[in-house]
């Protein structure tokens, strides 16, 4: 009997069951019930460079067996791609202001929140707009205003939680000006400093109209030049006046250069060509990793904030649609959140990331506490030593003082024209 049963177990079947047991165990610990390895599913994700990391694709392959093909483009190009080439992507990794622009075109499908396991852990910013019950909602395209649609085939945005989301939020942050403290040597505390003649020929702003106009508005308002009804939805007069102030500054030689890509902003700052400019969090990290002091300066008027999420292309169905849900659930389950928080972003289901970060990392990035040991960037390169404190402090300090969200306005086409004139002037 014994010998008989033994002979039935061939070497091959033993190997097979062994592999199955290991993968099942791995899947169990990660809370991912399905393994897609056999079906060779490939999903194409198009997004802005901020979250298109090969490390994420590799980890998705390892955990889920899904092959992710990441394409990183600049903001305008991604929006264009989603709007005009519906078959060219499976998952859109875009920002909420782009969602407002491209959703009505119908190339994306609404997502059933009952299939999203960590839905109740998603922070309030993306649901009712409030970080804490007492928060006020900032100007601009606040994510919750374009998060929900009324039903599976809904076209118009709903202000309430409907169970159908346009995108599942992933990362977000509060942006401000980056400065070189060693070259400025005095405290900076207002957006108005960007146009301070003291920094003539040493300032910069980003040449991406939809984001740049918001930075401009923060500056003009801080200078007391313009009182906006809503910075995220300016009137033609407000646009003219804002661009006018900056055109004058440009002609007076205030700006050293404008930047369009992440790398350009890093080089401008690191080389000392520019000492104050609009900047993104990972760029600050990159400058500091070179050993050059650079501060993401909190300013009294508050932050200009942005949020991004993953949306599913309208053409996905069947196995691929299931895989996309699986991927998005995995995205929110903590590992990716931990990875991206190390470059200064926040995860939408922020508490799930805690398990994937050390207590010291969590303290530094989320709670705004002084680091106890070395702080490393996502790739493991040392960035900060013990004692360092994150610029702007804790999550609630930073996300609690958002003055406006990146936005797309009704007068967008007019604004774009004016922006082009500003660049050409």
């Amino acid at each position: 009997m014994k010998a008989n049963s033994k002979s039935k177990i061939s070497r091959r079947s033993l190997l097979k069951s062994g592999v199955a047991a290991t993968t099942a165990a791995a899947a169990g610990t990660l809370g991912a019930p399905m393994i897609w390895a056999q079906s060779n599913i490939v999903l194409r994700q198009s997004g802005t460079g901020v979250s298109a990391f090969n490390e994420i694709a590799a980890k998705a392959k390892e955990d889920l067996g899904i092959t992710m093909e990441m394409t990183a483009l600049d903001s305008d190009s991604v929006a264009q791609k989603v709007a005009t080439q519906p078959k060219s992507f499976d998952i859109a990794d875009i920002e909420y202001w782009m969602c407002k622009k491209v959703w009505p075109i119908g190339n994306m499908q609404a997502m059933d929140t009952s299939k999203i396991k960590n839905y109740d852990k998603i922070v309030g910013i993306f649901k009712d707009g409030k970080l804490t019950p007492t928060s006020t909602i900032a100007q601009g395209t606040a994510p919750h205003t374009v998060s929900f649609v009324d039903g599976a085939n809904g076209k118009s945005f709903s202000s309430e939680e409907t169970g159908w989301m346009t995108m599942i939020p992933t990362i977000y942050n509060a942006d401000t000006l980056g400065i070189r403290p060693d070259l400025i040597n005095r405290p900076i505390n207002t957006w108005a400093e960007l146009l301070n003649p003291e920094f003539k020929g040493k300032a910069s702003i980003l040449d991406i109209s939809s984001i740049g106009i918001m930075d401009m508005a923060m500056v003009c308002e801080a200078m007391g030049e313009i009182q906006y009804g809503d910075k995220g939805n300016m009137t033609k007069e407000e646009i003219d006046k804002t661009i006018g102030i900056f055109t004058e500054a440009k002609k007076a030689g205030q700006f050293r250069a404008f930047w369009k890509t992440f790398d350009e902003s890093v080089n401008l700052m690191a080389s000392g060509e520019v000492v104050i400019q609009s900047m993104w969090s990972p760029a600050i990290t990159a400058v500091r990793s070179k050993g050059i002091p650079c501060v993401y300066q909190p300013l009294k008027e508050g932050y200009r904030s942005w949020g991004g999420g993953l949306g599913i292309a309208a053409h996905l169905s069947g196995k691929e649609l299931d895989a996309a849900y699986e991927y998005i659930n995995w995205y929110l389950s903590g590992w990716v959140g931990g990875f991206l928080m190390r470059q200064g972003y926040y995860s939408a289901a922020v508490e799930t990331s805690k398990e994937y970060m050390s207590a010291d990392e969590w303290g530094y990035w989320f709670e705004g506490k002084a680091a106890k040991g070395d702080i490393v960037n996502p790739q493991g390169v040392k960035m900060e030593s013990a004692g360092a404190v994150r610029d702007g402090g804790s999550f609630y300090d930073r996300m609690g003082s958002v003055a406006c969200w990146n936005a797309v306005m009704e007068e967008n086409q007019y604004m774009v024209r004016k922006w082009n004139e500003f660049i050409a002037s």
Binding site: A83, R256, E273, Q413, I423
Partner: protein
């Protein structure tokens, strides 16, 4: 009959060129012209026959400013590359006497072309920067006390990059025509008592006209159509026609990009036909 047959066979012989040219030049130009009359929304373009794009182009003061800036760059770069290119070619053709050394020197001129022109352009940025090599040397030599700001992200840096990138396009055709000048003409001029300057002005320059013209066409067309050099070397601070077009394309405003392209194309064609009026290249070659 024989004449007709000869006509047909020459037509057949020319047909591959005609096919290639029409597929890759004539048809795209027709398409661009057609689309320049279309309408556009934020994300789509639709067929129409509108003059909106041209109206916006011709009524905006910015267009004229950018247009003259483009012409200004073309003229300045043309002038500088002509002077440098002519001098280099003149030296190579008349002062280097052995053919081997002429070939060696000529190959030396092409060394920069071993890397892509984006790399050649971008490598100026750290050199010219506020804390770059140029400024550091100037300060160390005591020539200036403060870093010179206009070295980078200025008209100067744009022109410098253009000259660096395109001078060889001037050198090659001018050198080529100079090498074909019969040396006995120069000897004859000298025997007749002409000074070096007179030889240069009355003999060499007139005989080099086709080369100068071909080089000029290259340089003018390249500078007029450029957008990336202007963007990088001016830090996005200066615009030319190419940048207007690339901005429009990135914002999906294809019809207005096409309209700008048509105007640019017309200008370049007019300029080149005027230039060709001065020299009959086919006859001279």
């Amino acid at each position: 009959m024989a004449v007709l047959q000869r006509n047909i066979s020459s037509l057949l012989l020319a047909s591959p060129v005609i096919l290639v040219l029409s597929a890759f030049i004539i048809v795209p130009i027709i398409l661009i012209t057609a689309v320049s009359f279309w309408g556009a929304t934020e994300f789509s373009i639709y067929p129409a026959f509108l003059f909106d794009n041209y109206e916006f182009l011709f009524t905006s003061e910015v267009t004229y400013r950018v247009f003259f800036r483009t012409l200004y760059f073309a003229f300045l770069v043309w002038l500088i590359t002509l002077v440098i290119g002519f001098t280099v070619a003149y030296y190579l053709a008349f002062f280097v006497h052995s053919l081997t050394w002429q070939i060696i020197c000529f190959l030396l001129c092409t060394i920069p072309f071993w890397t892509s022109n984006i790399i050649r352009m971008i490598s100026w940025i750290p050199f010219l920067g506020r804390n770059g090599l140029a400024n550091q040397s100037l300060i160390e030599m005591g020539i200036v006390n403060e870093p010179v700001e206009w070295l980078l992200y200025s008209e100067f840096s744009v022109c410098l990059a253009f000259v660096h990138l395109y001078t060889l396009f001037m050198v090659v055709p001018i050198f080529n025509t100079m090498m074909r000048i019969d040396k006995s003409l120069i000897e004859a001029a000298r025997d007749a008592g002409a000074s070096s300057t007179q030889i240069l002005v009355n003999v060499i320059i007139p005989l080099c006209k086709p080369g100068i013209m071909i080089g000029s066409i290259f340089v003018v067309a390249l500078v007029m159509g450029d957008f990336i050099t202007v963007r990088f070397m001016s830090g996005s601070q200066i615009a030319n026609m190419g940048r207007l077009i690339s901005n429009d394309i990135s914002l999906l405003q294809y019809p207005s990009a096409c309209a700008t392209a048509v105007v640019l194309l017309a200008t370049v064609v007019i300029m080149i036909s005027i230039m060709l009026r001065f020299v009959d290249i086919r006859k001279e070659l």
